[in-house]
Assembly symmetry: C2
Homo-oligomer: 379 residues x 2
């Protein structure tokens, strides 16, 4: 176990809502958190022991920030991994390891990793540019993804018919068979330095039809015992094969044939684990700390079923954020509001989330719908 | 409802662990917390949006700190209420109200308040000094309390026999009949500006035999339905009669005759409510924020039974704190460690607490004992 509670500095690349909730959790362990973020108004600005402003993709910025820390972690994948490798060479602990981050930064390499390790995933082809995609009519309908810098729905688009080939990305990417799935699932799994592995229960995601962002989720997912077992087994296999230390979110498809395929992975705390704060014995944020500081991992069982609704900036609204309907949600039994400390809203910006807990799953869904319909971030 | 999530400042007098956990909760509402505390190393020092160092009992210090805030609250009763009254006169919201804080600062007035409002409490006499106590042999065994500045077990002592009269406090105080109680209970109750009132379930306290500090507690208390109802009813009656806004902890005795008597009250978040963070739909810290910002109060039901063990500095140890046995506790299913960010330990200093949750009450008690026996704060 890392001696973490006296004169210890955890450095985090990224100071958004994930960093913010990580700090909320780190307080309980006396862990001092240092944050690096390019945005002087980032959600962590007032909560970090030290808040440094700088580019996460710049070698010197990341290296100089990291030199002063004992352990380094990330809350976003788009960071300078060369600097992290150098810091690792100089004896710093970096979790997830820079090699894992690099693998995940590149969706082409990510897919090859699945193939090489017998992890079930959708069939795909690597494509160099638009011209290459144009030759693959037979592969449609497909999902065209940029190899690099896709994040939060950016760099991903569906090409259904020949006409869509027109707007294929003109950059290195992949073309993935569009899966006609039954459900989208996610499993968050943790691994510490000693090799202990624990997965949280499977959750079921519902995406916004246009914006490729999780709109709401339910935990536990309504799937068979066997499917749940299989999904967790796959997540555990992925983190083991990556030889990764930290938290990993594994997003999956449950196909209409009952097969489970890995869609994407993120080596960090994840939107699909926010409900663990209220509903699990251990939150994903505490679990991440336990993993990277080599503490024993916490139990991942649920105290109570939960739903989570993302609070996205309303379309057509840009400016100082107002939370319309907030009082109604505060009066809703079992609803827990999390605002992310962002002063300004813009369309589809993640401004907060609401977790709803309830012993009754139907009531849970009803309440999630109520939150979705009544709470709006406007300007 | 107070508009709390943009350009809003909550001022808190006191920056100890209660302020720290309040900040953890305030993060979710985008509430900026300003802290005033005399100790530059106070647990809130790195987490407050603004951390001011100064005496809480000094008029100018409190007044100048408060001028800059929108709403003011406390995490300790020993504060300058004249400054708070002045701020209130100038239009600031101060919750709990200064008049309530004054009443509670004075244990003599507190007891009179119970009598005047038909709140059941132990028989007592007011005493001016040691000489006055010496004349009250017939009243023994009794508890001798200083009227003012008692806190965390200080200013309270038991006088059992005539020989003990020797060490009676030589200052204004009260002499209270020693109650031969069955159990000590606590109810935390909240009231918002609109007058909505909600009580948390009754908890059962076990005190350290010598140091008059809560050693551990169980929630819910093992008492009859009727006793539980009565305890909550009394707590609600007290907050209503005080006309108070905020959170109130009401500590009570359950006598051997099954009667419930109010022992002491604290107009703030309280050690006997820490388990609400993990076990309740709403934590006491969020409930306090909801009350003082006039939001709807949150539901107070339990997700799961809980125990809470205070982590006190080990006797004979003074200096840089070390947490011996921590790894064992981190591996204990259902245990959640809260450290308070205090660099130095001293005998019986509150350094943290551990909440344990478990569906099975016997296992809960066993685990509480395990924590008590295995986790030690040493130097």
């Amino acid at each position: 176990m890392q001696s973490f509670y006296q004169n210890f500095k955890l450095g985090v690349l990224g100071g958004g809502q994930l960093g913010r909730m990580l700090i909320q959790s780190a307080i309980d362990f006396n862990v001092d958190v240092h944050i690096l973020d390019p945005d002087e108004h980032a959600p962590c600005r007032n909560l970090a022991k030290k808040f440094a402003i700088g580019k996460l993709t710049d070698f010197d910025t990341v290296y100089n920030f990291g030199k002063d820390c004992d352990v380094l972690t990330i809350e976003i994948e788009n960071v300078n991994t060369d600097a992290l490798k150098q810091l690792q060479k100089e004896g710093k602990k970096v979790f997830p390891q820079p090699e894992v981050i690099e693998l995940i930064q590149d969706k082409g390499r990510q897919k090859l990793f699945y193939i090489n390790n017998f992890i079930p995933t959708a069939p795909f082809e690597r494509v160099e540019n638009k011209t290459a995609v144009a030759k693959m009519k037979q592969f449609l309908p497909a999902v065209n993804k940029l190899r690099k810098e896709g994040y939060d729905g950016r760099g991903v688009q569906i090409l259904r018919t020949e006409n869509d080939l027109e707007r294929a990305f003109d950059a290195p990417g992949i073309l993935e068979k569009l899966i006609d799935f039954e459900k989208e699932l996610s499993v968050i799994v943790a691994r510490n330095e000693s090799g202990q592995i624990k997965a949280f229960p499977v959750v079921e995601l519902v995406f916004h039809p246009e914006h490729n962002l999780v709109e709401y989720l339910f935990a536990p997912a309504e799937i068979t015992e066997q499917q749940s077992h299989r999904a967790k087994e796959i997540a555990e296999e992925v983190i083991k094969r990556l030889d990764m230390v930290g938290l990993l979110a594994v997003e999956m498809f449950l196909t209409k044939d009952g097969e489970i395929l890995v869609n994407e992975i993120a080596p960090r705390t994840h939107n699909s684990g926010h409900q663990t704060i209220e509903s699990s014995y251990t939150s994903q944020f505490e679990q991440h700390l336990r993993a990277i500081l080599n503490m024993p991992l916490g139990p991942t069982g649920s105290k109570i079923p939960a739903a989570m609704v993302n609070l996205l900036g309303e379309d057509g609204h840009q400016g100082m954020a107002q939370y319309s309907g907030l009082e109604k949600i505060l009066a809703l039994e079992g609803a827990k509001v999390h605002l992310y400390g962002k002063k300004y809203t813009k369309p589809f910006r993640k401004m907060g989330h609401v977790t709803i807990i309830d012993q009754d799953v139907d009531r849970l869904k009803e309440k999630a719908r109520f939150v979705k319909d009544n709470l709006k971030v406007i300007s």
